[in-house]
């Protein structure tokens, strides 16, 4: 089953799913960072030239350009929990391939190797490698052992429909209980005709058809969560 995720098991027996982000999304993030860096460079140059005169100002601005190119990603990744401003805007995050946050070593390594990925021009090598790798890593990521993943948005609790709680007709496995709750949360978002069909499909569980079957499912779900009180 392809789900585009990387499943990691912790020693505690918890499975974490990381979703590596593809080349397109990372490209947008890089572009936003590029724009931001250019803007900062312009502001820096103007400020330094006005403050220190043209010669000294431009000299110092060159140092600023260097730092903006090489230190900007490392500093933001280390102090911004793996997110440069562009990555933060697009919901991306750099983590180590075991799911831990990146440190100086990883961040410096993956950003220094941009030099290789940039070859021969505009990330040509990096793009090809990213398309070939299963986890969308460029060479810098492979060497540093890092991944760029989607930051999972915090799950929003959906208010369930009010219903009289009922016990389940037969015991369900934890996965099936999750599936039932998922169904109850989402079934109202599909077209009405389809809702009827889904209700019919739930017949082995409820013994009813259509809308009545869905209502019964809501009751079971209320019995599972214990939230809805009549």
């Amino acid at each position: 089953m392809l789900d585009g995720k990387l499943h990691l098991s912790t020693p505690e027996g918890v499975t974490l799913a990381l979703t590596p982000a593809g080349a397109a999304r990372r490209g947008y993030a890089w572009f936003i960072d590029l724009l931001l860096r250019v803007l900062l460079n312009i502001l820096l140059t103007i400020g330094l030239v006005l403050l220190l005169g043209p010669t000294m100002g431009r000299g110092l601005a060159l140092v600023g350009y260097f730092l903006m190119e090489w230190a900007y990603p490392v500093v933001f990744e280390v102090f911004g929990s793996g997110m440069t401003p562009g990555k933060r805007m697009l919901g991306l995050q750099v983590v180590r391939d075991d799911g831990l946050p990146v440190g100086w070593r990883e961040s410096a390594l993956r950003n220094l190797l941009r030099g290789i990925d940039f070859l021969p021009m505009l990330y040509g090598v990096g793009l090809v490698i990213m398309l070939m790798d299963g986890n969308f890593r460029r060479i810098g990521d492979m060497v540093a052992g890092t991944l760029v993943v989607y930051r999972e948005p915090a799950a929003k609790a959906v208010a369930l429909a009010q219903a009289e709680p009922l016990p389940l007709p037969f015991p369900l496995t934890p996965q099936e209980q999750h599936a039932l709750l998922d169904l109850v949360e989402r079934v109202r978002s599909v077209p009405p005709q389809r809702q009827q069909e889904l209700g019919d499909l739930a017949r082995p569980l409820t013994g009813l058809d259509g809308e009545a079957s869905l209502q019964r499912l809501f009751q079971y779900a209320a019995g599972l969560t214990g939230e809805a009180r009549s």
Partner: protein, 536 residues
Amino acid sequence: MTVQLESLQIDIRPGSHAAAIDLGQSLLRRYWQQVYLAWWLPWLTLAVLLWLCLPAAYLGWGTLAIWWLRPLFDRLPVYILSREVFGERVTAWQALRAWPWQLGGWLRSLTWWRPIMLGRGLYAPIWMLEGAKGRFANQRRRALGARGAYGAASWFGLACVHFTLVLELALLAMLGLFMARPEEANPMLFMIKYFSDPATLALTGHICYVIADGLIGPVYASGCFTLYLRRRAELEGWDIELSLRRLAERRRRLATLGKSALAMLLCAALWALPQHDASAATCAPSKAQLELEKQRGPAHNASQAALRRDIDAVFQSDEFRQWDCQMTWAPKKRPEAKQDDEENWLVRFLTWLFKNRKPGEAKDEEQKIHDFSGAGAVKLGLIGVLVALFAWLLWRYRGPLGALVTQRRQRAAPPQQVLGMDIRPETLPEDVPASVNRLWQAGSRREALALLYRATVSKLAHDHALELHRGDTEGDILAASQAAHRNGALPQPAEAACAEVTGVWRNAAYAARWPDDAQLDHALAAWRLGLGGGGA
């Protein structure tokens, strides 16, 4: 398209649009061979035809034309992936044969805005797979493109356009890098050099575009296709349906399990009833027996026929019967050999390599020579490469490997002092017994015995590699030497010498019971024998 959700190969639980698009890349990675083959056959043909037909100055228009036709090529990955994703195997050739029918709305898809529509990949399956047309198709588009899905597809299309551009420029830059002199290394050199020569620039541009878009095109199509699938699954609650179906299936299995449990109880009750003896079951005689009977000629006369009947009857009896009837249980359905293995190129290659001769085939000289010339040569070559690789690996890592071998022999250096005595070998006199005798004769008996004991400990630690520690006592050293002797690490004379010298030294040093000359001579003789050999 009939939807068979059970055989779906990808996870269609709702998630972000970006993750859905990335899933397309994973899908493409799994079926890249078919997809790229199907794409590249017509793609390359068209590109070469355009290059051949158009005059050099107009090749740029050819590149534009092939870009214009790209929506038609998008159909091939969608055709393959939409079937593979439901577990149906499609070869590149099948996809190409179905292609003319997939072009369906080709006139429509070549309307001028279509190639510019960045999110077109999301809508392509609507009529390709659902066959929706007219107003209904519009409705479907609105429904599928809602909640930012069309925006996501468009952004992805924009990214893919840039990826194509990046790859084109990268290819040109690589040419430039190789053309540049080593000291200047200029990726832009190619474009600078041939800027004034439009024909060369157009040809290289054409080649680079064909390569770049041939790589990125399937990526775009597959990304949009998985976005379409996820979006549709979200709209129609496919994952809900799947989990409900699984639940029903488990429920049904539970019910049949209950029934079969009941049946088993019944069987157990029936167990007590008399059973047929399995070995007594009647069955046809074995093939060998029938062969034997066939070889007999016809009976000469009635008495021979009667005799044969008698013999057969005897052989049919339990005592002489040569075959045995047994009833056994066998699974009704044997698990079929995995089809995938046969499809795998590696398996096919290995089969060709090692099983090219069928077992029953004659192996005459000619055949052997033929074998040798084909697979045999490859086999020999592969074996040669393996041997060379192994030798090279051994040579390459001789350092670490040598360290591994010698590591066992290396151990901590013996301490410089034991019992407060300096046991470094260089502090000992050349001839220890002679020095001891000299000191003994000169009347410094304590120094003589101390030297003897110090020399003993030093020899044990350095020549016999006895593991001693700074804080060991005479007893510890003696015990260590005895243990080493038991392990076979210390020869018997050395151990005896150690024991004797230790006894003499202890008596003298702690009890002031000095040995007489004969005792000392004996100890020195033992020392000479066991430890004086100048090292083991």
